[in-house]
C-alpha cells in the first residue's frame, strides 16, 4: 500500500469523528486520581507551583491538562505560582494562566502569579530552593516578586505544597533528582505520551505523588473536575486513529506471514 494512502486514512480517521463527534466514557487511572486527590486534600490558601516545561510542539497534550489543573486549583482556593524552564513556552504559559484566571475570576498577584522564564534548568531548580526571589526577582509583568501580595510569605520550596511539572522532556526527572530529596518538595507531573512509561518507577517510590499521562490523562482530569473540554473531545477522536493503526499493524503482519509462507 502506498504510504500516501495510509496518510489519507489517518487524516480521515481524525476529520470524520471531529465533524461527527462521539462521546465514550473515560475511566480514570490511579496516578491521575492520586494527583486530583492530593490537590483536593490541600487546605484553602495553600500554594502550588506549576512548571510549564514545554513548548508549542507539545501544547496539544499539555495545554488541556494545564487548564484542568488550574481550574481545580482556582475552584479550591489553591494559589498557583506559574513559571517555565522552556523559553519557547513562555507566552503560551502566560496566556493559559491569564485565560483560566479570567474564567474563574482569579486575581493576578493574589490567587496566582506567573513568574516567566529563566534559563539554566537545574540551576533554576536549585536556586529557587534557596530563594525564589533570587531567581525570579520580578514576575513576568515586571512586578517585584517580594512585593506581590501572595508572595510575601513565600520565600522558597518550604512554603510550597506541591510542584506540578508539565513536561515534554526530561525536566520531571531533574525536578525529582534535584528538589525532591534535597528540599523535600512534593512533585507530580503531567507528561506527553513519549515519556509516560519512564515515570512509573518514580510513582511507585512516591517520588511522584501523581501523574497525568498525556491526552488520556487530560481527559481523565477533565472528568474528575467535571468540566469536559478538549481532552475529552480529542481522546474520543484518538480512538478511531488507534483502531486504524492497530488494523494497519494486523494487516501488515498478515501480508508479512503470507509472504514468508510462500517463500518457504
Amino acid at each position: 500500500m502506498n504510504r500516501r494512502i495510509v496518510f489519507i486514512l489517518v487524516a480521515l480517521a481524525v476529520i470524520i469523528p471531529m465533524l461527527l463527534p462521539v462521546s465514550l466514557p473515560v475511566s480514570v487511572s490511579e496516578p491521575t486520581q492520586q494527583l486530583y486527590d492530593y490537590i483536593t486534600a490541600l487546605p484553602a490558601g495553600s500554594t502550588i507551583m506549576l512548571a510549564f516545561d514545554y513548548g508549542p510542539a507539545s501544547l496539544a497534550e499539555l495545554n488541556p491538562m494545564a487548564r484542568a489543573v488550574l481550574r481545580q486549583c482556582f475552584d479550591r482556593d489553591v494559589r498557583v505560582i506559574g513559571f517555565t524552564l522552556a523559553a519557547d513556552g513562555t507566552t503560551l504559559a502566560s496566556t493559559i494562566m491569564r485565560e483560566v484566571a479570567e474564567e474563574k475570576g482569579a486575581v493576578d498577584g493574589e490567587d496566582y502569579v506567573f513568574l516567566g522564564f529563566r534559563p539554566g534548568g537545574t540551576q533554576v531548580m536549585l536556586g529557587m530552593g534557596n530563594s525564589i526571589s533570587s531567581v525570579f526577582e520580578t514576575d513576568y509583568s515586571g512586578n517585584t516578586t517580594t512585593e506581590i501580595p501572595m508572595m510575601k510569605e513565600i520565600t522558597s520550596y518550604d512554603e510550597i505544597a506541591l510542584l506540578i511539572d508539565l513536561a515534554s522532556g526530561s525536566t520531571t526527572e531533574l525536578w525529582i533528582i534535584y528538589t525532591n530529596v534535597r528540599y523535600d518538595l512534593q512533585i507530580a507531573a503531567g507528561v506527553t505520551g513519549v515519556i509516560i512509561s519512564q515515570m512509573y518507577p518514580y510513582l511507585q517510590t512516591g517520588q511522584l505523588v501523581g501523574l497525568i499521562p498525556g491526552i488520556l490523562g487530560a481527559a481523565q482530569y477533565e472528568r474528575l473536575i467535571d468540566v469536559p473540554a478538549k481532552g475529552m473531545l480529542w481522546i474520543n477522536i484518538e480512538s478511531f486513529v488507534h483502531l486504524l493503526i492497530v488494523l494497519l499493524v494486523v494487516i501488515g503482519n498478515i501480508i508479512f506471514f503470507n509472504q514468508r509462507r510462500r517463500e518457504e
Binding site: 529563566r118 533528582i177 505520551g193 499521562p213 486513529v241
Partner: protein
C-alpha cells in the same frame, strides 16, 4: 487582526502538511521561517528573562551604587562574556572557561543527588514490597508482582552488565531482561502513538474549528 492571524497560521499549517505529498518550496519556506522565528524568540527571551535580570540589573545596581554586592557579580558576568570568544577563531579556546565551570558544577551537583534520588530511592522502591510481604500486608497477587519486579530489575540490569561474558545463567538472565525491555519499549511505543496522534488532532481541530468554523 485576529482573523488575519488565524489565516496566516492556517496557511502555514497547510504549507507544512504539503510535505506529506513531497518536499516542495512551500514546505521549505515554512520550515526556514519557523527556524528563524523560533531562534529569534529564544534570543529575545534569553535576553529579557536571562541576561537582564541575572547580569545587567545587578551590574547596573552596582554601578549606580544602589547595591555594591553587585560588583561580585562582575566575575561570573566576565566569565559569561567569554562565550563571545566563539565569534573569534583566534580566541575561541576562551569559551572553555565558562563551559568548564558549568560542566564541573553539573558533575558535582549530580553525584550526590543522582545517587540519592535514582540509586538509593529506586533500590528502596524495589525492596520495599518485601517489607510489606514480611509484615503480611501484601496480598497473594501483590507478592507475585513484587517478585516479578525484582526479577525484572535484576534481569534488565544483567543485560546492561557487559563486564562478564553473557554465557550460561547470565545469558538466560539477560534474555529475560531483553523481554522486560521489549515490554517497556512496547508500552513506550503505544504511548508515543497516543502523543503524536494528539498533536495531529489539535491541528485538525484548529483547521476545522478556528479556521473553517465547521465544528459547532
Amino acid at each position: 487582526m485576529e482573523l488575519f492571524g488565524i489565516w496566516v497560521a492556517a496557511l502555514l499549517t497547510l504549507c507544512i502538511y504539503s510535505f506529506l505529498y513531497q518536499d516542495n518550496p512551500f514546505y521549505r519556506f515554512a520550515e526556514h521561517l519557523f527556524v528563524g522565528i523560533s531562534v529569534g524568540y529564544g534570543i529575545v527571551l534569553s535576553i529579557h528573562q536571562g541576561l537582564v535580570p541575572f547580569a545587567l540589573k545587578p551590574l547596573w545596581a552596582a554601578l549606580t551604587g544602589e547595591s555594591l554586592s553587585g560588583l561580585v557579580k562582575l566575575i561570573p558576568i566576565g566569565v559569561g562574556l567569554l562565550f563571545f570568544a566563539r565569534l573569534s577563531p583566534q580566541h575561541v579556546w576562551l569559551i572553555r572557561y565558562p563551559i568548564a565551570i558549568l560542566i564541573g558544577f553539573g558533575a558535582g551537583i549530580a553525584i550526590p543527588n543522582v545517587l540519592r534520588a535514582n540509586i538509593f530511592e529506586q533500590t528502596r522502591g524495589t525492596i520495599e514490597p518485601f517489607a510489606a510481604m514480611h509484615a503480611g500486608t501484601l496480598s497473594g497477587f501483590g507478592v507475585l508482582e513484587a517478585i516479578l519486579m525484582v526479577a525484572g530489575v535484576v534481569c534488565t540490569l544483567t543485560y546492561f552488565f557487559f563486564s562478564v561474558e553473557h554465557r550460561g545463567p547470565v545469558k538466560w538472565l539477560s534474555k529475560v531482561g531483553i523481554a522486560f525491555l521489549m515490554i517497556g519499549f512496547g508500552s513506550a511505543f503505544g504511548n508515543t502513538v497516543m502523543g503524536r496522534v494528539a498533536l495531529l488532532i489539535q491541528r485538525v481541530d484548529f483547521l476545522l474549528g478556528d479556521w473553517l468554523n465547521l465544528i459547532s
